[in-house]
């Protein structure tokens, strides 16, 4: 066991890699009532083409299967795991992202029991043809819900336009058609490949005794037998730096148009300090150009091109990265032009402003540590790419104007831009 101290933050992190390969992290938070735990596998919607465990050749699986598996893991022969958690006063949930599937609970009592339940239900799959069929109706309604959601359509429309091949362009839940091909055998195959402890991370935070908790987790894992860990072979998609589609307009039953400009990142580091620096630099640069204290934001707001829904965001995971800029607007074309003009005309940097924004980002980081959910989820995301959440402040502090110029040169290139709009359907 290792203890990592963060003195300025008044935090201590306990870490151990168990014999079966599972990474366990515990961050005690004595003042809190609740304990929040996530059990996450490095397996998400982008992992759709891989060599299944025990096989020798690559296989493509139906879109949406990682998310489907997440749903089905809650159902057992003797009923629903939600019931077990709620009897123990816990609230349980799960989510699937591009690169991860996380199972989680929070509770203020019976924490030990709930940790057992979490570990045991995730490590004991029970899939039958019948329960798989039943789930298709439920997930179809989840997909329909998103179909009617203009912000979601805009978000995925933008990502879809950026990529030629990379599966990040595929909706996490898949489609009603694609999930119809999911079978219990396919679920088991994905499970066997990606749910080995060596591909997973357990994070527990709350008013827990870290040593006793670790002991309990160790005992739970020692009782079970696992096959030896193997390397997972995932298909590497070759992706050009230019976008697949320059503009995409979605007509929907809305009254207010929406517009997003997407920027596809060219150089994506797959892991480690370089990746963290890259992510922090792009985040800071976007804030410099479009944050609420920027001249651009004030001007766009005064010109009536944006409102409070305006957002900027950068996502960088595994081997893909993209920025998104935009929001609700009455003038989607003018906003798209303005944003691209700002990006292409960018040349100089005011050092004083950069220092101020670094301050802001550091304060924002502190605030995010108020949330146990944020700590567990983000720590896991960083850890899967060999980075540490707690290195964010030092990385931000190390950034220079020149670092921002470097990422600007890399990202602000016309062929990497795409525009997506949601507009009211024309009355016929």
């Amino acid at each position: 066991m290792k203890v990592i101290r963060y003195d300025q933050l008044h935090e201590q992190l306990f870490y151990e890699r168990l014999a079966n390969g599972l990474d366990v992290y515990i961050l005690p938070k004595k003042e809190f009532n609740k304990t929040y735990a996530t059990f996450t596998t490095k397996y998400g919607s982008v992992d759709n083409y891989f060599t299944p465990y025990g096989k020798t050749s690559m296989k493509k699986v139906p879109d949406g299967i990682a998310h489907f598996l997440e749903h089905k893991l809650f159902e057992k022969e003797d009923g629903d795991v939600f019931q077990t958690f709620s009897k123990q006063g816990a609230s349980a949930n799960a989510f699937t992202s591009f690169t991860r599937t996380a199972y989680l609970f929070s509770s203020t009592t019976d924490v030990e029991k709930n940790v057992e339940t979490l570990l045991n239900f995730v490590q004991d799959p029970y899939f039958t043809e019948q329960t798989v069929e039943k789930e298709k109706g439920i997930i179809a309604q989840e997909i329909r819900m998103y179909d009617d959601h203009p912000d979601w359509r805009l978000y995925f429309g933008t990502i879809e336009s950026m990529y030629h091949h990379h599966p990040v362009k595929i909706d996490i839940a898949g489609t009603v058609e694609s999930i119809s091909h999911i079978t219990k055998d396919l679920l088991y195959e994905c499970y066997e490949t990606f749910y080995h402890p060596s591909n997973m991370l357990l994070f527990v935070t709350g008013p827990v005794d870290p040593l006793a908790m670790l002991e309990q987790i160790r005992a739970n894992q020692t009782k079970k037998t696992f096959r030896p860990p193997t390397d997972i072979e995932r298909f590497r998609y070759e992706e050009p730096s230019y976008v697949a589609r320059k503009k995409h307009v979605i007509e929907m039953n809305v009254q207010t148009p929406k517009c997003l400009v997407g920027i596809k990142a060219k150089n994506v580091y797959t892991k480690g300090k370089e990746k963290l620096k890259h992510e922090c630099a792009i985040g800071l640069l976007l804030d410099y150009l479009f944050g609420k204290s920027s001249l651009n934001y004030e001007r766009l707001y005064q010109q009536g091109l944006i409102d409070e829904t305006f957002m900027v965001d950068y996502t960088e995971e595994s081997d893909f990265g993209f920025s998104l800029i935009g929001g609700d607007t009455l003038h989607p074309d003018r906003l798209a032009e303005e944003i691209q003009r700002i990006l292409l005309q960018f040349d100089d940097i005011d050092d004083e402003q950069v220092e101020r924004l670094k301050r802001k980002k550091i304060g924002t980081f502190l605030r995010s540590l108020n949330s146990l959910e944020y700590i567990a989820n983000q720590f896991t995301r960083y850890a899967f790419d060999h980075m540490s959440l707690f290195d964010v402040v030092a990385t931000l502090q190390s950034l220079t104007s020149n670092d921002l110029k470097v990422v600007a040169r890399e990202c602000f290139v016309q062929e990497q831009f795409t525009v997506c709009q949601v507009v009211p359907k024309k009355v016929k």
Binding site: F82, I138, D147, H149, Q255, Y297, I362
Partner: protein, 425 residues
């Protein structure tokens, strides 16, 4: 558990919740007035105007730059409806300098900023800045319009609008679109002055701080005329002889089924705890009857849940379904309500629901926002209920209490937003 110290300080009520849980300190100001059609649009505009600029920071860029200097302090405003009250909230959250290796006390600077926003907004010729007001009028119209685009929110809004037709509760917190244009900077400022005199104002401070430490700072910065407190409104109870059914057709892929019930029980009533448990067994959680029967057994929906409005005495059920499954979904929902009425729930369901509600309450007070929202119920209602009474109240609820409170739950309105060409089968 959390401790709260409260005290009248110059026309506002100061609430301090000391805690070492967080890396930041939080300031929340709430302004409350009865919800009414003639004021609501102006009230919806005011906080957005206030957050633009002050005398000292006379532009959006200047004010936002100042927030960045305060280590990225956040400033947010929002609007809410609690029973027939309209509530404006202004939040500032600022880092605790203890974790930054010692800088000047940021909380005091944040408090000064909040008082600047309230008492020294940017004005010209006896009104707010006209250009800011025009800009925010445009933004407000866009916000009101965008309600239509989020179908779940839209369906919820339409249900309430139909259920409470003609009563203040039917109003949207953002006001009415056609009332926006006629507002001008002077009239708005006059209304703001009226609010400062008459609104019930509460200031919450949550963080590593005690009342004694900051009372003086607050008194120095916030000076308001004394006012009468506890203006309470009694929620309108609609008496309907037949359940009304409203079907609206739009170009949507998923049908949104929303049902409104009169619970005839509010936060002020002794049976409020029993209602919480009733709602928990019925539809509040993933172990509840609605989730199990509509989603898990019938596979009709991804979400199927109920929730209560504590001060209005209403409960809402919502489910997203295939348009053709309208009758089937309704039938299942009615059957669950009927089972509740007949007392068809096990002791285990009661125990499970109590455990989950208890957990939810304890988790709520792990966030500054949660503590403030719980405490603010006592400002809205006439009944005072410290946190431990919430927990004890839930614990004490008996099967008889649940059955009794359920007898008063009456279905009022069924609202269904469905696809255009689809037929109700």
């Amino acid at each position: 558990m959390f401790q709260e110290e409260a005290k009248e300080v110059g026309g506002l009520r100061l609430h301090v919740i000391p805690t070492k849980k967080y890396k930041t300190n939080t300031l929340v100001l709430k302004m409350k007035a009865p919800l009414c059609e003639q004021d609501v649009t102006m009230r919806a505009l005011i906080p957005y105007v206030l957050q633009n600029a002050t005398e000292r920071h006379p532009s959006m860029k200047a004010l936002r730059t100042y927030l960045d200097e305060l280590y990225g302090a956040t400033l947010q405003v929002d609007l809410a409806k609690k029973g027939e009250h309209h509530i404006i909230t202004i939040r500032i959250d600022v880092a605790n300098e203890k974790f930054l290796g010692g800088t000047s006390p940021l909380l005091r600077d944040a408090m000064t900023l909040l008082s600047d926003m309230l008492f020294r907004p940017l004005t010209e010729q006896g009104g707010f800045s006209a250009s800011i007001v025009e800009q925010e009028k445009r933004a407000l119209k866009q916000k009101i319009q965008s309600l239509f685009d989020d179908k779940m929110r839209y369906a919820q809004h339409r249900l309430i609008e139909e259920m409470y037709k003609g009563s203040p509760y039917a109003l949207d917190v953002h006001g009415k679109r056609h009332d926006v244009d006629s507002i001008d900077a002077k009239r708005l400022y006059k209304h703001y002055e009226h609010m400062l005199k008459h609104d019930e104002i509460d200031l919450y401070v949550v963080g590593d701080v005690m009342l004694d430490d900051i009372e003086h700072d607050v008194a120095e910065r916030f000076s308001l005329e004394a006012r009468s407190r506890r203006s309470t409104t009694t929620p309108t109870r609609m008496k309907r002889t037949n359940v009304q059914e409203i079907v609206e057709k739009q170009d949507v892929k998923q049908g949104k089924l929303h049902l409104g019930y009169q619970t005839n029980t509010t936060y002020n009533d002794a049976d409020y705890d029993a209602l919480q448990v009733w709602n928990g067994i019925f539809g509040g959680f993933t172990h509840s009857k609605l989730f199990i029967n509509v989603r898990e057994k019938a596979s009709l929906a991804y979400y199927a849940a109920s929730r209560i409005e504590s001060h209005q005495g209403m409960m809402m059920v919502m489910a997203g379904i295939e348009p053709s499954n309208y009758e089937r979904a309704l039938e299942i929902i009615h059957a669950q309500a009927e089972a509740m009425r007949n007392g068809q729930f096990s002791d285990e369901e009661i125990a499970q629901t109590k455990a989950v509600i208890r957990n939810q309450l304890l988790e709520t007070i792990d966030t500054a926002r949660g503590m403030i929202e719980l405490s603010y119920h006592n400002v809205i209602a006439t009944r005072q209920r410290p946190f431990h009474e919430w927990l004890e109240g839930i614990e004490k609820v008996t099967r008889e209490d649940i059955v009794r409170v359920g007898e008063n739950v009456e279905l009022d309105t069924i609202y269904f937003l469905t696809e255009k060409d689809g037929e109700k089968r």
